[in-house]
């Protein structure tokens, strides 16, 4: 067993959990080898450029290639059912400048991931942009806003006085949810549906309830549990105002991909070895056989795995990324002279029709997020997988076109993927899982990223 083939930790797959873990181990002076079978970082958390899958063949035809994303060391294909449909071939620009995320998510400004980025100074590898909730489409087919802050509620002239009082009471409850009094009240409700909890304890009108469940919690269905919902809402309000009038942050050029790259870079700076596009033959408890037959050894071999549990949740989510020509000013907040670059738009259950009982969560990303060139916008739509998903997406797209306020807005193509629900978990969950894995490797979480962060500012 050669010394150069022996490591403390071998990580397979550069998804976010493993990237954070890689960096944490490296910071703790462990000898780390990090391998990925894909030629890019991030696996399922990553993004791809359009050029990677669309080619123009010799006779000028548009050819859509096969999208293969493999989880390293795992036989299961992470993404199923990738469908790409080009709607307006003639209007597609060159494919430069488009970054399509496999799973569209954002970070909570007051969450543990952003805190970690700040503490470790890894945020310096990223360009961060704010994202805000913008509009909610109610079951009465009316566009409203999600109540984000006390100032919002005060200034909203369309909200009746008694409604204001009720929302504020709820907000007050959320901010003091950890108090003993409230914890007692909550005990029996934690695993029950949040909607029922709201109905029983707060006389909130239906539209406000919808705003909370589908706007603040971004829930994809009506069964979100009380515990889960309150965690999300609490984090939402804690995040709002931390860095500005918004709750979410995303990174330019594909949040997941950039986060993975940032942590991997930090890991490498601290001494880890990286191998991308490296075929793996066999994975064992303390060793890995590489494509060419070479073997590498470690006390700890961590494979890439979906979040939350080793098995799939069985619940799938449809995500559609639409490339849209047009700036869509009607979909973004305008602050003085600045058009914000990232918005969330929520369609509550039954808002798109009586047959559609699930919500649709939309993210609109403008050129300022670095994910598309000037003059274009990306729309990400997510909904629970069901027979009617295609219809629902079409209806939602039409409503968005109406809202975006400009005649030359045109969807040019879309990329549909099927995601496991566990993969849609909050980025902060990745930090928790990485910490747990770190504990199994080192024995405690005390040294997790505990190091004098005296980085040089110009470490390139």
């Amino acid at each position: 067993m050669q010394d150069s083939n022996s490591f403390d930790v071998i990580l397979l797959g550069t998804n976010l959990v493993n990237s954070i873990l890689s960096s944490a181990c490296s910071w703790a002076n462990l000898k780390v080898l990090h391998i990925d079978e894909n030629p890019f970082y991030g696996e399922v958390d990553g993004s791809f450029s359009l050029r990677d899958i669309i080619n123009i063949s010799e006779n000028g035809n548009l050819e859509v290639g096969n999208l293969r994303i493999k989880r390293s060391g795992d036989d299961a294909l992470a993404l199923q059912d990738v469908n790409i449909e080009v709607l307006e071939k003639g209007l597609l620009p060159s494919f430069k400048g488009f970054t399509i995320e496999l799973i569209s998510k954002e970070m909570y400004a007051g969450g543990s991931l952003v805190e970690l980025l700040s503490k470790t100074k890894i945020y310096k590898y990223l360009l961060l942009k704010p994202q805000r909730s913008f509009r909610l489409y109610t079951s009465d087919q009316v566009w409203t806003k999600v109540p984000e802050s006390r100032a919002d509620i005060f200034n909203d002239k369309t909200l009746p006085l008694t409604h204001k009082r009720m929302i504020m009471r709820f907000m007050k409850f959320v901010s003091s949810v950890d108090d003993n009094q409230n914890q007692e009240k909550l005990k029996e409700w934690l695993s029950k549906p949040f909607q029922d909890f709201l109905k029983k304890n707060f006389e909130l009108p239906r539209t406000i309830q919808e705003g909370i469940v589908y706007g603040l919690c971004q829930s994809l269905d009506s069964n979100i549990s009380t515990q889960h919902a309150l965690e999300k809402i609490k984090k939402y309000y804690q995040s709002f105002g931390t860095y500005g009038e918004y709750s979410y942050l995303l990174a330019m050029y594909g949040t997941g991909s950039e986060l993975c790259q940032g942590f991997c870079r930090s890991s490498a700076v601290m001494g880890s070895t990286f191998m991308l596009a490296q075929k793996i033959n066999k994975v064992e408890a303390t060793s890995v056989e590489l494509g060419e037959g070479e073997r590498v050894w470690a006390n700890n071999v961590i494979t890439s795995r979906p979040m939350k549990s080793a098995s799939k949740s069985g619940i799938n989510i449809r995500q559609r990324c639409i490339i849209v020509r047009g700036k869509c000013p009607g979909l973004f907040h305008q602050n003085l002279f600045l058009l914000s670059e990232a918005s969330q738009i929520h369609f509550v259950p039954y808002s798109l029709g009586d047959r559609f009982s699930n919500s649709v969560q939309v993210r609109a990303l403008g050129a300022g997020t670095g994910n598309c060139p000037e003059g274009y916008t990306l729309w990400y739509l997510q909904t629970l997988d069901c027979e009617e998903y295609f219809e629902v997406f079409t209806l939602a797209t039409n409503k968005l076109l109406e809202l975006s306020h400009s005649e030359d807005t045109k969807p040019l193509m879309y990329v549909d993927v099927l995601i496991d629900q566990n993969d849609l978990a909050d980025y902060d969950v990745a930090v928790e899982i990485a910490k747990q894995l770190y504990e199994t490797i080192t024995g405690s979480t005390d040294t997790f990223f505990q190091r004098d962060t005296s980085f040089d500012d110009d470490d390139e």
Binding site: A151, I153, T162, K164, R165
Partner: protein
């Protein structure tokens, strides 16, 4: 072993710290003594300016030193310089004051000295001063020094240009309130501006119409705030001002132009709203207290005795108040006596 060493070091460090501080205290005391001697002897020589600078760098809150500094300027420096030189000196002085203000944005004497500089300067730049107030208030929208200074600068600008900025300033307070309505200084500034705007209107009928329009708009805004956060004190204090129920000498500005019927109309409207809010928030002390006060006021205006029901309601409200706000029990007991006196009269 290691622990013992550390403790020793700590004590050593403590001793060193006390030593350092003692020498600093000696130094400072020495400077103060120099200053006191010089001033006693009426020594206003310009070299003493450096002494004041040193002292103010140590501690800009010693107002006597600021006074002395001004005396030196007035007695010795200014009589011997040309107008342009005076402006130059005061510009430098303003820069010095600004550097102190950045670190101590809430010291009365620093603002006083700045005002003195501007009033003695041949060519004061009020637009620059306006920008300073913007910076102060964007750093802390609730710094009443900042607001007070802003009012001063605005009045100087108005004087110089012979126009008034009241409407613009009103907009400024509106935007401060929209951002965060728990801003007592913004509401207070509003009271001053609204009073001025109403008084400006010379024709009696127009003034009346304007007052009513303003009153209803302001009440609507307060209603929004009251239902959003009924525990915020600044909105209720403003409400009292609107209703003319504050410790002001003379007639309340808005209500004074209205007839008795009109005043009772507004009082009734507000009492009704307070009752609505009281139902939602029975423990809110402001609601309880204002229901009583406005109720009494209404009865006085109508020259009517309160009904038995009203009396009972008000007494029970004072009981609630004593429960909810026990620190001010005495105040509510007095209120109860007041009610009883009115009844018996």
């Amino acid at each position: 072993m290691h622990g013992i060493l550390r403790v020793k070091l700590n004590e050593e460090q403590k001793r060193l710290k006390l030593e350092k501080e003692r020498s600093k205290i000696q130094e400072y005391k020495g400077l103060i003594e120099q200053f006191q001697r010089a001033r006693q002897q009426k020594d206003y020589s310009s070299e003493k300016l450096n002494l004041t600078t040193e002292l103010l760098d140590w501690n800009p809150e010693t107002y006597s030193v600021w006074n002395y500094r001004r005396e030196i300027y007035l007695c010795t420096v200014f009589p011997n310089v040309s107008v342009n030189e005076k402006q130059d000196l005061l510009d430098k002085e303003l820069q010095y004051v600004l550097s102190k203000m950045k670190v101590f944005p809430k010291v009365y004497w620093i603002f006083n000295h700045r005002r003195w500089c501007l009033e003695n300067a041949p060519y004061p730049n009020w637009n620059y001063e306006m920008m300073i107030t913007e910076k102060l208030l964007s750093a802390d929208a609730r710094n009443f020094h900042g607001w007070h200074y802003r009012r001063y600068v605005v009045s100087q600008i108005e004087k110089a240009g012979n126009y008034d900025l009241a409407e613009k300033e009103l907009q400024y307070t509106s935007s401060a309130i929209a951002t965060n309505f728990s801003n007592f200084s913004a509401w207070h500034n509003r009271t001053k501006l609204l009073e001025f705007i109403i008084k400006k209107e010379t024709d009696f009928e127009s003034r009346k119409q304007l007052a009513q329009k303003i009153l209803q708009e302001e009440l609507d805004t307060i209603h929004q705030a009251a239902f959003t956060d009924p525990d915020d004190s600044s909105i209720w204090i403003y409400h009292r001002w609107l209703m003319g129920h504050c410790n002001q000498v003379g007639e309340p500005p808005i209500l004074s132009v209205l007839s008795k019927e009109e005043r009772t109309h507004y009082l009734r409207q507000e009492i009704q709203l307070l009752e609505e809010l009281h139902e939602l928030e029975p423990e809110n002390k402001w609601c309880c207290e204002l229901l009583i006060e406005y109720g009494l006021l209404l009865r006085t205006l109508l020259n009517h005795q309160p009904t038995k029901e009203e009396e009972a309601t008000w007494i029970s409200l004072t009981n609630t108040l004593q429960q909810v706000d026990p620190q001010r029990r005495g105040r509510y007991q007095n209120l109860r006596k007041k009610i009883e006196t009115v009844i018996d009269a």
